[in-house]
């Protein structure tokens, strides 16, 4: 589960970086900026695997909001641009040139839904805000050991 959360956070970071990199025409014409997606995902997985800290859910949600704001800032409220640019970035990053925009957007939607499902379903060890119910059949009426 931790790997999935790290992958999703890495993809979010990759999207943000590739959109920022794409603002430079010089860079955009020389480098496959979409490669920042798998690169950021791999770096995040490696860094997260060696860290003992929990994967920060709030930071991931903040990145999602930032990504949406960045897309709106750069391309404005143009639904066509918002359908093409993330799909093209994803296609170039993962070399999926055989797929059309509609298929790529379906894959992206599935990735984002799954990523959010993983984000909002934190691991057992981090569920501090409620106590687990005892399983059925568990005896709670133990005799008091004190004399």
């Amino acid at each position: 589960m931790k790997i999935l959360r790290l992958t999703f956070i890495g993809l979010l970071a990759g999207f943000i970086l590739s959109i920022l990199a794409g603002r430079s025409i010089w860079l955009e014409m020389r480098v496959n900026t979409g490669l920042l997606l798998p690169l950021a995902a791999v770096i995040t997985i490696i860094a997260g695997t060696f860290s003992t800290r929990q994967v920060p859910t709030l930071a991931a949600i903040g990145m999602e909001i930032f990504l949406v704001c960045l897309l709106l800032f750069v391309y404005g409220w143009d639904p066509d641009a918002l359908l093409i640019i993330p799909a093209s970035t994803f296609k170039e990053g993962f070399f999926l040139s055989a797929f059309d925009v509609r298929t790529l957007n379906s894959i992206l939607a599935a990735v984002f839904l799954a990523g959010n499902a993983v984000l909002f379903n934190p691991p057992e060890s981090s569920r501090h805000w409620y106590r687990r119910r005892p399983p059925s059949g568990f005896r709670t009426d133990r005799p008091d050991p004190s004399p």
Binding site: E28, Y75, D80, I85, V101
Partner: protein, 207 residues
């Protein structure tokens, strides 16, 4: 009698059909040459990304290193494109080098470039399908550059500023006008061009 007339009609239509198949490029034969009209047509595919991102590439073969950086993915190999232009009598300028590219305007035979597709209803000029921020007419000239193109393997067919690698490029600007000096920006015209991945036919006619 009727059968005889049908046979004559079919025999008469066969050469007409073959003439049409020569005119229109297909995925199996992505480039066609019309020596009488002094024109070359090739099959390409729209890249919707460059309706929204500036680029300096108009058409690039998808196997080249710049294959995903252009308004159109030109589905014809660079060598075939170069040889087709030579076959219609175009003369390469061969004046662009990697050293002089920023101070030299491409020379060579000039072309009118048009684009059409199924349902377009007409052929659109390159000035209509490319949004050029300075509104200067795009002047495509046959730079040549076959050896450099083979060496660099960029896949560049038509560039939007004078280029030492692209076979044909725009003589209005020197190299770097778009990428580094910000003299102009160019994008595909989303109000005219069809959707991403739509097949189009690009025609270059010798002026």
């Amino acid at each position: 009698m009727n059968k005889f007339l049908y046979m004559i009609a079919i025999l008469l239509l066969l050469p007409v059909q073959s003439v049409f198949s020569e005119i229109s490029p297909t995925p199996d034969h992505p480039i066609t040459i019309d020596k009488d009209a002094k024109s070359v047509s090739f099959l390409a595919e729209v890249n919707g990304k460059y309706f929204y991102q500036p680029t300096r590439h108009f058409a690039v073969h998808p196997d080249g290193s710049n294959g995903d950086k252009s308004v159109l993915r030109g589905l014809v190999p660079v060598d075939d494109f170069y040889n087709a232009l030579i076959a219609i009598g175009a003369v390469a300028g061969e004046n662009m080098t990697l050293k002089n590219k920023e101070v030299t305007y491409v020379e060579g035979s000039a072309f009118t470039v048009t684009v059409t597709w199924d349902g377009a209803g007409k052929s659109y000029g390159i000035d209509e399908v490319v949004v050029e921020s300075n509104k200067k007419p795009i002047t495509m000239k046959f730079g040549g550059n076959q050896a450099t193109a083979k060496d660099k393997k960029t896949g560049c067919l038509l560039c939007l500023d004078s280029c030492p690698v692209g076979i044909v490029s725009n003589a209005q600007y020197t190299y770097g006008a778009i990428e580094t000096r910000n003299e102009v920006t160019m994008k595909g015209n989303k109000d005219i061009l069809p959707a991403d991945k739509t097949k189009v036919i690009v025609t270059l006619k010798l002026i």
